[in-house]
Symmetry: D2
């Protein structure tokens, strides 16, 4: 019926990735590191890596794309997947679906909305997701479930928490503790604050490479089915909803700008990583530690912009 | 490369549209009419219409899809297209790209951001777009340009302003005047407030049918090219950006929920209309006057949800 | 019963006033002029004047205390007195009594409180007071009533509007128009916006000297009775309430700091004037055009601080 | 110089107090108890007491004025006195002096002002005061200093913490913990959150009678000198500043209304107590557990209003 034209079949993705990385190399080292987490601020700002994973198993890597980095709140996408598996739509009784219109750690909106975070991808929402993920178990069980999930999805048994980063997160965790206590004050937290934030600090401290991250996210590009293993990871309907949330709320207070420039559902982390999903095609991950004013990787965003120009992967045509 | 499966080639769109309309008929008359615009509150709440326009010229209509209604702020999509044609990216020096995180007519964000509206699809942003559209001409010229554009894009010479609605808008226009004066206080308005709001009141009062609206928006589905006439209406890059803004900011304070449920770039109007764009496929418009708490058509949203379930048109897979 | 010790009977007020003015002369010219009102920004920043009026008719003047200046929102105290005379406590159905916690021209609070200004001494509240003062008459009648009131209370027939300033206010009046339209949107304005703001622009443009201002305010120090003429200007109960509002809300976003440093009910204007009332004693006015970051006269505040140290006039002991 | 007329010398204060209490007896039991602190919600809502302490040692008590109740945040006045003794004006580097324009436990303002509470009498500000009061010691030392201070000032050795209430406060303390972590996130807290909040929970749980409270606050009415013992408790200048803060910020989001109706510096607690200071005369305390919508004792405020009408004690004449 419609005259859909597929992506150029002859497109050389390795070349496209390498060229896009080269395009932005002048921006390596620009932007700022998150000084409030000492362990993150010690990473070399000159790192620059990228990787693509396709549904047919194809993988393309450039620059430092095989070096592990702290995935930070990119992990929210995976805890959200797990919590949706457990709870379904009931999850959204306790967390909204709208962009916050403010910084990821803003507490203002939380006051106006009486302890119900605006969406599951900002800090406050991720804490409510973690609280639900813990469920009848402990925080340790929840974090193990997450690690196991990431190992299975990426096929890499070595994925682990960087304990030094986790400790640093906890020591610098005043704002997240404040958010959690605030949510608790409105009765929207079932477990003790320290148990919930300790899950959050550890999930943020998970170290993965761009290659691993792109591979792990493939299920999000194929209606919830891991195209390599054939596992139905989450239901199709829920998969689309996670992508919608990534598109509208995945990058703090510059989610709109990201959609505007890249046109793909994605999630940024203050470790400098960005994950994007290309529906029906695959996933990509980039890493460059320097952040823009909103906390998203500066060179990483530019690299993705170049890549999307070359591949035509924007969902907007 | 990727194993993309196209939409069902045999899908009977007329049947899908009719069935989707029937699915939600129980919700006809539910929701509330916008009491602050008397002319709108007199419309029969039981109206329910829908239409689809495809790139090959195919058109499908159901219910009241051939009855004109007030397009209201759906018009913002077209003034944005025109202003981008005139000004390009410079437009975004004076208006942002982020979801507002609050109601369409909120003035709070405007104070925090010193008179620069969050995005061009909320009231305040649309006023700044209109100000730029007027440019060196008058408000009358700007509104004529818009009418001419809509007539060309829809192929219907009869498209006109409902003067009774325009007068009603102006009489009830305190909030929009407040926003415009506020923007002017920060030096972000080039023309007198009354000239700018008079363009806005008139563009909101344009009457169109679902069939006309879907047809007029086809250029947005095909990288800025009207697939029927072949006209390059706007550049591809700008077209994608309009769609990104529609996805993240098109439905007031329930833009996230709309993306979550429908998965298509769209724009709602308080007249009960909703326009959605299906990249590389076409456009659809629905109309049902009863609004949900955020000002989006209640039955209209449900109808689109059913239609997307049947067609698999979500950009998220 | 209580061992009240009266202010030093031998206190030489002229000497105290002159010395206080001399104390702060180093600060003459510091601070900033309100650039958004051109006519005000042309005043010499080196002006510095002060005056005291006592209940027994005593008057003390120093520096430029006999030179007229633009009283700006100090006028809100007088329109509030007149509106309370007309309407009594019903006035407070449409305007609150709490400090706003933000700048005088903030519109945020107005959104949260649905068009009901926080108090009658900030811009938005003064507009609602003006609207009530107009009542069944016109804006011209209201402004005449105010002028007549000030002439009677000061015994100076020459008090008048500085038309050049009034025009400048109106030309720069976007923010006040925005506030007025916003209030109107919530149905909290009975007259057209232009009629209400034109009263406000003119009351702000009234020119008075420190001597006249202190004299005119004497009724506020004596339970509503003008101690010179014996006129009951307002009821005692209402007089105390005006003073309470001046104490808690009289100086924009530094009302608390003013109470902290001066300890007297007062009202600042962006023309650089400050009026304070000393219950059971008299009133004082100062003028120095340079403003602090919150819009209150910088040297004027310091002068009052020095004067209160010398006189022991703080209501807090 | 000025013709000051002293309060009626023959005024029978006992009669005035008893009559004022009788006037409001119809309102006993009205208002609501603070359900979020279980121990407070179990107090009988019908309690109604009042007491006056004069500089000459005179004391007047009515109703339940000799029954201990939880003073809650009235204690902020005393910790502020102690911290000012220790630190002087440096205290205000870390806490402001302005009314918050919102509820006592609002976190919004804290975000806008980057962790610096608006004033020392709201929850967030009291936490910063406690942090400074702890100084180089421990929280236990700080709370002992406060208890010792209250025992000395009231001459009652039995004043103590109600441990049941303290535990209840801590268990219900999510919001205060959130505020403290938030302040800590901006580097404005020197001690661990749990140490600071444990001081706050205990100071709020101190039980005192109206008689004790009025007596303890006498130093605030006499320029910092306890008129019974002659002790210079705090410097005169600091005393006046505490009274200014009580006038502008002493009653959450109804501080303006309280100044408007009562005209005296005061402080409310959610235990239903209110303390007011009459400069150069004495102090009064009332207690009635039912609270108005802003958290101030409903019948207590009315009782004070009646008392001030009879005594003419308003600082505004």
């Amino acid at each position: 019926m419609n005259e859909w034209s597929p992506p150029q079949p002859k497109l050389d993705l390795q070349a496209a990735l390498t060229a896009s990385l080269r395009d932005v190399s002048a921006y390596q080292g620009q932007g700022s590191l998150p000084s409030y987490i000492p362990a993150l601020s010690q990473v070399s700002p000159n790192k620059l890596g990228a990787a693509i994973a396709l549904g047919d198993g194809g993988a393309f890597v450039a620059g430092d794309g095989d070096e592990p980095f702290s995935i930070q709140s990119i992990s929210n996408v995976f805890t959200l997947s797990l919590a949706l598996q457990h709870l379904g739509a009931a999850l959204f009784n306790r967390v909204g679906k709208e962009a916050s219109g403010s910084a990821t750690n803003s507490i203002v909106q939380l006051e106006l909305e009486k302890g119900k975070p605006r969406n599951p991808l900002i800090n406050s929402g991720a804490l409510v997701v973690d609280d639900q993920l813990i469920g009848g178990d402990s925080g340790d069980v929840a974090i193990d479930e997450l690690l196991q999930f990431l190992r299975e999805r990426s096929g890499e048994e070595g994925i682990a928490i960087d304990e030094k980063v986790a400790i640093s997160e906890s020591q610098a965790g005043s704002l997240n503790r404040s958010l959690a206590h605030y949510i608790a004050a409105f009765g929207n937290l079932s477990h003790p604050v320290e148990e919930v934030v300790s899950v959050y600090f550890r999930q943020c401290a998970i170290a993965m490479t761009c290659r691993q991250l792109a591979r792990a996210a493939l299920y999000l590009a194929f209606d919830g089915i891991d195209p390599i293993t054939g596992d139905q990871v989450i239901l199709p309907n829920r998969c689309r909803r996670i992508l919608a949330l990534m598109m509208t709320c995945g990058h703090y207070d510059n989610s709109g700008d990201f959609a505007f420039r890249i046109g793909l559902p994605g999630k940024s982390g203050v470790g400098g990583g960005i994950l994007v999903v290309v529906p029906n095609v695959g996933a990509a991950a980039v890493w460059s530690p320097g952040l823009n004013a909103s906390g998203t990787s500066l060179a990483g965003t530019m690299l993705l912009e170049k890549l999307v120009e070359r591949t035509g992967w924007s969902v907007f045509g």
